[in-house]
Amino acid sequence: MSMLRGFLVLTVFFIAGEVLRVLLALPVSGGVIGMILLTLLLMVKGSISDSLAGASQALISVLVLLIMPGVVGVFFVADEFAGQWLAVGIALVLGTLLSVLTTLWLMRRFSGQEVDGHD
């Protein structure tokens, strides 16, 4: 029962996100707006109820179930994007190599400064 209460909170925040998205014509999905609102509220409150923590954990643990129908589609769109798969593959592999390299390099640079500084 208490988990359902947490689920209600999540659903209400999602609806609030959708309301803001439509009324303010925001280009961001209602889920993300609801998530930002929830994070901000929790930070202001400084604590979280067991029911909300439980419901969130339960939903996150079955996320794979919720996104699977979309992933299955990738095996059925081969024809739709024929001739572009080489571009997709190279963009993904090379792009990820470059972005990992950039991230590690930047992080090392800035965390190195922190050690030299006051920390």
Partner: protein, 243 residues
């Protein structure tokens, strides 16, 4: 014989009208995928979501179910995706105190790195002549799936293509962080975790938890912040550049 095959046809039509078959297939593949993943000693290059999805694809191919029909039935599960996206705010709040420990690299690096993660891929694909729909599907490649679905729908990309890109990105990010961290001699679990979560979303975060709880916590933080930042910046960038 034809009588029996007619009845079988009738049965399949009956089941494909109701969402029950699609939901049972998805649940079954979810559990079987997790089991196979454990049985194979948790290979980083073959995440459970990929195993489960291949099982569903094989099943609907064998049963001659149309993907559109499966998708329609499974929509019932997708209804939960909105509240599940909101739920990601909870671990983000719980990891937020780590920002204080490493605020400088996070504040200076994350916006740049998250932007570049999208820019590199979109630029390479654009140079190789990919269509606008493909570019919109590749842009959220480092964002965790529930948020990325929202972004792709906003940008007008293909959710299926985006999901494939997400999987490959997650696996590649895990591989490259291992490889490059060794070359750059980076051993700080906080940096490794952030890099894994930022570039490799949930797949990278799962790998970070294998490195230890600190790397896992920072990966969760990196994943959450990257998701929010990208969700806010990409639609804006796409509308400005007019892709």
């Amino acid at each position: 014989m034809t009588e029996l095959s007619n009845r079988f046809q009738e049965l399949l039509e009956l089941l494909s009208v109701s969402p029950v078959l699609a939901i049972a297939l998805t649940f079954g593949a979810f559990f079987a995928g997790n089991r196979l993943f454990e049985g194979l000693n948790r290979p980083a290059w073959l995440p459970p979501i990929l195993i489960s999805s291949m099982l569903v694809s094989a099943a609907i191919a064998i049963l001659a179910i149309d993907y559109g029909d499966y998708r329609e039935g499974a929509q019932w599960l997708s209804v939960l995706l909105g509240p599940a996206t909101v739920a990601l705010g909870v671990p983000l709040y719980q990891q937020m105190h780590h920002i204080r420990a490493l605020w400088r690299p996070i504040v200076f690096t994350l916006p740049v790195a998250a932007t570049l993660a999208a820019v590199y891929a979109v630029l390479i694909a654009a140079l190789m002549g990919a269509s606008p729909e493909v570019l919109a599907s590749l842009a959220p490649k480092s964002v965790t799936a529930p948020i990325a679905i929202g972004i792709t729908e906003q940008l007008g990309g293909s959710v299926s293509l985006m999901m494939g890109g997400l999987l490959i990105t997650g696996i590649m990010a895990t591989l490259f962080v291992d490889l490059l961290a060794r070359r750059l001699s980076i051993t700080d679990p906080r940096i490794l975790g952030l890099a894994l979560g930022l570039n490799g979303h949930a797949i990278g975060t799962a790998r970070a938890f294998e490195l230890g709880p600190t790397a896992g916590a920072f990966a969760s933080l990196g994943m959450g912040l990257t998701g929010i930042f990208t969700a806010l910046i990409l639609p804006l960038a796409f509308s400005l550049t007019g892709i």
